[in-house]
Structures are given as structure tokens and as C-alpha cells.
Symmetry: C2
Subunit: 256 residues, 2 copies
């Protein structure tokens, strides 16, 4: 199965600024690839060889192609060539800056506002360093400040986890990958099949002396409600009819 | 600001089965806390002392209360007391099992179907081991198999990253935390203020000999369109009028 080609209206880049932990660079590559993105740029990472460090490669867990393609640059300007819409990810309040938006809401707007007239957008997601976040001057040039809605008492998202949520939301907004059904779709039993099974089961319940036909109370309607709630499949009808049959046969033997 | 109290209709638990990496347990605790959840149960983790290992505590990054509250148990049964709705997280296709659903779609349904009559639900999210995923028999007892929609060529989500996405989606479904606006909301300029500023700017552009009033072409309408697209604030009107004033004063000096 093919990955959905990225929407022609958007190119996507992830920019990590002054990242200190190699593990986070690896986790970022993995999180991107899992959501079908591959354009990673590092601005002044702590380790010049971060793309080849063991911890990076371990945490990338197979996303080596993203690491191979990644660029390391000295300035944010170099990281942003061709990008037209900049999203900061910054949690700390500032006096001034672009409007703060939840990713889901902002991405829906961004995708909706893309028309042939607006031209192709280059969307960059900027992530600051683990310890200091983003510098004010880097936030100021962004169009939006994305804020993942978190526990107000504990908003400390790991860099890789934050990038995973953003990449996931952006992929959902661009048109998500389809869920791969792991099992064959069940064939639902229709009302007649359910009624037939219930009649069969009723005989069996009488035969094993659980149901007294003279005082049935509400047993069968109760079982009917239970099976309706479960939404039976045809296969399950066969199973339940098999059980009823075995009950009837056993009762027959018991009567001999 | 208070954390939103968990919806009374749902209690939430995260269950990690046979987790091998201490770092992932710490990352799980952090991911949970960030989304306001705190009920973590470990079934047969590789390390008996995993809740107190250095790597766990480092990756938990302050979510110590979640680790302190966490339970370690021997069997999945013990982990599931009081839980009524079990969500497997399993990527590998199986011949048989609960229906596969994308988290967003499933959670919307789950929340929507909660009525006073259905009673309080205990929702458990089950995560298998890093190397082997979930055992068939553990998947079979679940009501749903959640599948995060990922790149079909690379669906390898890290345990902590997967848990972060699930916790985020579940929190969004329960009613997300509000986004904290980092800056004061801007006051938009009205049309009269924009027109006044443009008239001021027009004088200035004439004064610096950029605009020829005899052949204005479409300069002012173009600038008008640009400023309309930007959606000017009152503060920006003041800035632009300040610029116009300075241009006019400089032009006045130049004429002397």
C-alpha cells in the first residue's frame, strides 16, 4: 500500500533548534517517519555529529532515511528556506507574539484556507531546546504559536512526545492514513436469523429445565435485548445454534 | 487554574504489559500526567524495581506522583479490576479479534454513547511489550483494538509516543484543557481607522516621491488589500501612522 502523497498544497518541515539530547533527535526522526514526513533540519544542535550518534540511531529505530536526509545548519534563516508558514511550539507566555492556537483547530483552518490562489505553502514546525524553549526573536517571526492543550499543573511535554502529537495532528489534517482493519469485517446477522436462533435457544433452555414454559417470566426478551445490544454476527448465530443443539442432544440422552 | 475534573462517566487507566525498557515506563508516566491521568498499572515488567530505577525517574521528568501511585501486578486480571471497556493497542493483524478503530473516531463514539443509563465506565488502555506487542489472548478480551493511523511503510511507534497520542486523543474527547492564550488578545482596527491610516500613508508616499498623484496606478488599493489581509490591530495603526508622520517630517526637512 502506498503512503498518501503529501497534499500538493503543503510541504512540511520540522526544525529543531539547539537540541541537546541526541535521543530526542532520534525520537523526532521516528515520530516524523511514522506520520509520513521526512524533512528534518537541526539548527545548532549540541552535538555536531548528532545524526550519527549511537543514541540517536537507537531511538530513531529504523527511521535512518530521515536522519540521512537531515540537514544541520548554523542559523534559523538557513533552516527556513522555502517555508511560508511558521509554527512555533512554545509553552511559556510572552508579552507579545503570534496568536496561540491548539494544533487541531489551527491545522483545520490552515488546510481549509488552502486554495489554488494561495499557492503552495511550506509549513515549518519549530521546536526550541529542551531546557530553554524558543528564543523570543524566533517566536516573533512565526505566524502561529501552537500550544498542545495539557494539564495546567504539568505541561511538561517531552520534545519527542510533543513532535509526535504535532506530526500526528498535521497528518490527520492533511488526510489521515486509513486504519488498517486487522480482521475481516464481520457479517451481521439480520433480525430473522436472531429470532430463529432465539427460538432454537428457547427450546434448549426448556430441555435443560432452566426455562419453565408455564412461567417464562421475561427470560427470552432479556436474552433478546442482550443479543441485540451485542449486535450478533452470522458466525455467532452458528455458534449459539450449535450450543442450543448440543443442549437439546444432551437433554435427549438424559431422558433415555 | 484547576485541572478539569475527569468526566464522572469515565475512569481511565493505562496498563503496560511486560514492558522491558525502564525509560518507557517513565515516559508513560510523564505522557499521562501531561494529559491529566494518573492511574498506571504494570503487568510483569521486566524490572521488579522499575518504578524506582534512575532511567524511569529521569524520563518521568517530574511525574513522580504517577510513579508513586502506580501498581505492579502479576496478571492482567489483577490490572483490570473495575474496568469495563478495554482498548487494546495492537498493530499486527490477527485472524480474529475486536474491531480495529482509529482512536479519534472510537473515542468520539464512546463519549457520545455514555448516558446516565449506561453507568460509569472504567476505560483501560492496554499496551503490550516493546518487542512482542500484545498476546492474542489479551487482545481477544478487549472491546476494541485501537490503531493509530501511521505510515503504512513505517508504523513503528515508540511505546511512549503511542501512549502520548492515545492520552492526548482521550483527553481531547473528554473535553480538552483550554489553550492558554500567551498574549493579550489584540484589538482589531475598524474600517475607518484603516482608511484614515491609508490616507495618512498616501500623503507620506507622495511626500517622499514614491507615489505620483498624477499617475497613482493601483498603489493605494494594493496596500489596502495587503493590510486587509493582515487584519490590522489598533496598535499597528498607530505604528503605521507613526511611520507616515516620520516620512512627512523628513520630507519637510529635505525641502528646506
Amino acid at each position: 500500500m502506498q503512503a498518501p502523497t503529501e497534499s500538493p498544497a503543503f510541504r512540511t518541515r520540522f526544525v529543531l533548534i539547539q537540541t541537546s539530547h541526541a535521543g530526542n533527535v532520534g525520537a523526532a526522526a521516528r515520530a516524523m517517519k511514522v506520520m509520513g514526513f521526512d524533512d528534518l533540519v537541526l539548527v545548532q544542535p549540541r552535538w555536531a555529529n548528532v545524526l550519527r550518534r549511537q543514541e540517536t540511531i537507537e531511538r530513531a529505530s529504523g527511521a535512518n532515511d530521515v536522519l540521512d536526509k537531515a540537514r544541520i545548519v548554523e542559523t534559523l534563516d538557513e533552516a527556513l528556506d522555502g517555508m511560508t508558514h511558521l509554527c512555533a511550539t512554545a509553552m511559556t507566555p510572552r508579552d507579545f507574539g503570534p496568536p496561540t492556537r491548539a494544533p487541531r483547530e489551527h491545522f483545520a483552518q490552515l488546510v481549509q484556507s488552502a486554495t489554488p490562489e494561495t499557492g503552495a505553502q511550506g509549513v515549518a514546525f519549530l521546536f526550541g531546546s529542551e531546557r530553554f524553549g524558543m528564543r523570543n526573536e524566533d517566536v516573533y517571526r512565526c505566524h502561529t504559536c501552537l500550544s498542545i492543550p495539557t494539564n495546567p499543573q504539568f505541561g511538561s511535554l517531552n520534545l519527542g512526545a510533543a513532535l509526535q502529537v504535532i506530526a500526528y495532528e498535521w497528518r490527520q489534517a492533511l488526510g489521515a492514513y486509513p486504519v488498517q482493519e486487522a480482521t475481516a469485517p464481520p457479517v451481521r446477522a439480520d433480525a430473522a436469523q436472531v429470532a430463529g436462533m432465539l427460538a432454537h435457544l428457547e427450546q434448549a433452555l426448556v430441555a435443560v429445565d432452566f426455562l419453565d414454559p408455564a412461567a417464562p417470566k421475561k427470560l427470552m426478551p432479556r436474552l433478546n435485548a442482550l443479543f441485540n445490544r451485542a449486535g450478533l454476527t452470522q458466525e455467532e448465530i452458528h455458534i449459539l445454534r450449535g450450543v442450543a443443539k448440543a443442549m437439546l442432544e444432551t437433554a435427549e440422552k438424559a431422558r433415555r
